[in-house]
C-alpha cells in the first residue's frame, strides 16, 4: 500500500528540509510528491530478501591519508562570498542565536 502524503505531512517534511513553502507550493508539492510515491511503489514490490544494499557503485578501499596539516582556503577567500561577514574578525555573521 502506497503511503499518501497530506498537506500537513508536507509541512513536516518542509521543516525537516529547512524550507518555507507558500500555500500554493504546499498543495502542489503534496500532489506531485504523491504522484512520485505512487510511481516508486514498484520498487517496494521487489523481493529483496537477503540482498545487500549498495551505497557505493564500485568496491573501493577507504581513502586513507596521513593526518598531516596542509594548506587550505585562506580566511579571506572563505569569507569572500559571504552575504554578511565581519571580515576584520574573520567571521560569518548571522542573526543573534542566544538572547
Amino acid at each position: 500500500m502506497a503511503s499518501t502524503l497530506e498537506p500537513n505531512d508536507v509541512d513536516r517534511i518542509a521543516t525537516l528540509a529547512r524550507l518555507t513553502l507558500t500555500p500554493d507550493e504546499r498543495l502542489q508539492f503534496a500532489r506531485q510528491l504523491n504522484d512520485v510515491l505512487r510511481f516508486v511503489e514498484q520498487v517496494r514490490q521487489v523481493d529483496t530478501t537477503g540482498i545487500a544494499a549498495t551505497s557505493h557503485p564500485l568496491p573501493a578501499e577507504p581513502a586513507w591519508r596521513e593526518d598531516i596539516p596542509r594548506p587550505s582556503l585562506s580566511n579571506a577567500d572563505a569569507l569572500a562570498n559571504a552575504p554578511d561577514a565581519n571580515r576584520e574578525a574573520g567571521l560569518f555573521r548571522v542573526p543573534k542565536v542566544i538572547g
Binding site: 524550507l19 502542489q28 508539492f29 510528491l33 510511481f39 516508486v40 520498487v43 529483496t48 540482498i51 557503485p57
Partner: protein
C-alpha cells in the same frame, strides 16, 4: 603552423556572441580570462599539451577561479569560486582555454534545461526544442560548433541524453575515473564528470587528460589511465554487443528504434557480434534512481543555507528563519521537490521502506549488468526513447520528464562507463543517439566500438543550420 591561439579563441568568442540571443547555450562568457590565457599560450615556446589552444566550455556547476558559477540556481547568483576544479586544472595544463560556462538545469536536476533559473538553452537543430539536460548548454554549444569541447556532469544521463538530443558525442566515465573536486555535488554515489565533443576521438583525448586519481576526491579511484586514443584501432571484429531487447518497447519512438536497428546492422558489418542479453531489473531503474538521487541531494544541498555564500533572504528574524527563507527564495520548484522527496525517504519510519529498499534493488540492477558482461563486451541501447521534445512541454509533469532517463540511469546506478554518439535522424530532422555501455574501467573497448561505428557512418558530420533556424 596555423594561426595563434588568440585568433582561435577570438573566433570562438565571436561565434558564441552571435549565437547567444537565439541559442542561450552559455551562462557566463569569460572573454578576458580566455584571451589572457590564449596570450600566455602564444608566448610559450612549446605547445602546453595535447589540447593546446582548444576552446573549452564548462558546465555551470564546475568551478574555476575568476568565473562565476551558479549551477543554474538563484541561490548561487554572483558566487565566484576561490579555487579551480581538478578537471579545470588538468585541462588548462593540457592547453585547453576555458571560454565560459554553459546553461544547465538547476543543480543538474532535469532533462531539458527548463529548470535553469536563468532560462533554458535551445536546441540548435530546432530552437523551439530542448537541447536535453541537464548538460544541455554544453551539448548545444558543441552541436552549434561554438566550441569543440565542453564538459558536462552525468548523474542519471545528464551528459549522454543532451549529447543524443543535439547530435554530438558524450561520455560518462566509470564512477571514480574522473575527480569531482570542484563539481557542485548533486548525488554523490552517481555523479561523474565527462566530455561532450563532435567525435569519439576528441572525447577520448579529453578523457585521457581528465582521468586519474586525485587525493582531494575520496571517491577518485587508484586506477591506471589507459591510452584511450590509442585504443581507437577501428578493429571491432569479435566485439560482442549485447542488446536488452525487452527494454526497447513500443513506447520508444519509431524513428529511434529504426535508427538503433540500423546501427546494429552497421556494427555487424564491421565484424561485431550482436546478441540478446537480459537486464531483468532495469525497468525499475528510474524509480530506484529517483529515490537514491533525491536522498543524496537532500543532504548535499543542505549546505546552501544563506550563511557562507549565495542568496540570503532579507529581514529575517532568526537563524532558522534565515535558513528556511533563503532556501525558499533561492531554490526553484524542481530542486525543492527533490529535496522534499529525499528528506522524506530518509526520514524516520520511511528509510527502510524507500531508501534502503532502493539501495537493495540497485544491487540487483548492478548484478544484471555484471551477469550480462560475462557474455558480452558492450551493451547497446538507444540513449533516449525519443528525439528532442519541445521546451516547456514536460515542466508540469515531473514523472514524464524523469522517463527521459530510462536508458541512461542504469550506468550511473551500476557505476559503468557509457557513451552516446549520433546514429541518425528522425523524419523531422532531429538527431538520434546510440548508447554503448561497458564494464567498469573498460572505456577502451567502449570507445573503440563507438569510434569504429563513427568511421563507418557520417551522422556526426551533419551540422545544424548556421545561424540556427529562427535566429
Amino acid at each position: 603552423m596555423t594561426g595563434t591561439v588568440r585568433a582561435g579563441v577570438e573566433a570562438a568568442l565571436a561565434r558564441i556572441a552571435t549565437s547567444q540571443p537565439a541559442l542561450q547555450a552559455f551562462q557566463h562568457v569569460a572573454a578576458e580570462r580566455a584571451l589572457a590565457h590564449a596570450d600566455v599560450l602564444d608566448r610559450a615556446d612549446a605547445p602546453a599539451g595535447p589540447l593546446h589552444g582548444r576552446p573549452l566550455a564548462i558546465k555551470d556547476n564546475i568551478v574555476a577561479r575568476g568565473i562565476p558559477t551558479t549551477a543554474g540556481s538563484k541561490i548561487l547568483e554572483g558566487y565566484q569560486s576561490p579555487y579551480d576544479a581538478a578537471v579545470v586544472e588538468r585541462l588548462e595544463a593540457a592547453g585547453a582555454v576555458i571560454v565560459g560556462t554553459t546553461r544547465c538545469d538547476e543543480f543538474a536536476m532535469g532533462s531539458s534545461t527548463d529548470n535553469c533559473a536563468y532560462g533554458p538553452a535551445h536546441n540548435p537543430w530546432d530552437l523551439t526544442r530542448t537541447p536535453g539536460g541537464s548538460s544541455g548548454g554544453s551539448a548545444a554549444a558543441v552541436a552549434a560548433s561554438l566550441v569543440p569541447i565542453a564538459l558536462g556532469s552525468d548523474t542519471g544521463g545528464s551528459i549522454r541524453q543532451p549529447a543524443s538530443l543535439c547530435g554530438v558525442v558524450g561520455v560518462k566515465p566509470t564512477y571514480g575515473r574522473v575527480s569531482r573536486y570542484g563539481l557542485m555535488a548533486f548525488a554523490s554515489s552517481l555523479d561523474q564528470i565527462g566530455p561532450l565533443t563532435r567525435t569519439t576521438r576528441e572525447a577520448a583525448a579529453v578523457l585521457e587528460v581528465i582521468s586519474g586519481h586525485d587525493a582531494r576526491d575520496s571517491t577518485s579511484a587508484q586506477q591506471p589511465v589507459p591510452a584511450f586514443v590509442k585504443a581507437l584501432t577501428g578493429d571491432v571484429r569479435n566485439v560482442r554487443i549485447g542488446v536488452p531487447r525487452h527494454l526497447i518497447t513500443d513506447d520508444v519512438d519509431e524513428d529511434v528504434r529504426a535508427a538503433f536497428e540500423a546501427a546494429l546492422t552497421v556494427a555487424r558489418s564491421l565484424g561485431a557480434e550482436v546478441r540478446d542479453v537480459e537486464l531483468p531489473n532495469a525497468n525499475r531503474g528510474i524509480a530506484v534512481y529517483y529515490l537514491i538521487a533525491t536522498a543524496e541531494a537532500s543532504a548535499n544541498l543542505a549546505r546552501y543555507d544563506g550563511v557562507r555564500y549565495g542568496l540570503r533572504a532579507a529581514g529575517v528574524s532568526s537563524l532558522a528563519d534565515l535558513y528556511e527563507r533563503s532556501r525558499h527564495d533561492g531554490f526553484g520548484a524542481e530542486v525543492k521537490r527533490r529535496i522534499m522527496l529525499g528528506t522524506y525517504v530518509l526520514s524516520a519510519g520511511y528509510y527502510d521502506a524507500y531508501y534502503l529498499k532502493a539501495q537493495q534493488v540497485r544491487t540487483l540492477i548492478a548484478r544484471d549488468f555484471a551477469r550480462a558482461f560475462e557474455t558480452v563486451d558492450v551493451v547497446a541501447l538507444p540513449t533516449s526513447p525519443c528525439a528532442a521534445f519541445r521546451l516547456g512541454e514536460r515542466v508540469d509533469d515531473p514523472i514524464q520528464m524523469y522517463l527521459a532517463d530510462v536508458y541512461t540511469v542504469g550506468a550511473n546506478l551500476a557505476g559503468l562507463p557509457g557513451i552516446s554518439l549520433p546514429c541518425g535522424f528522425t523524419a523531422e530532422g532531429l538527431p538520434v543517439g546510440l548508447q554503448f555501455l561497458a564494464r567498469p574501467w573498460d572505456e577502451p573497448t567502449m570507445l573503440r566500438m563507438a569510434d569504429a561505428y563513427e568511421r563507418a557512418t557520417n551522422w556526426g558530420e551533419r551540422m545544424p543550420a548556421t545561424p540556427p533556424p529562427g535566429a
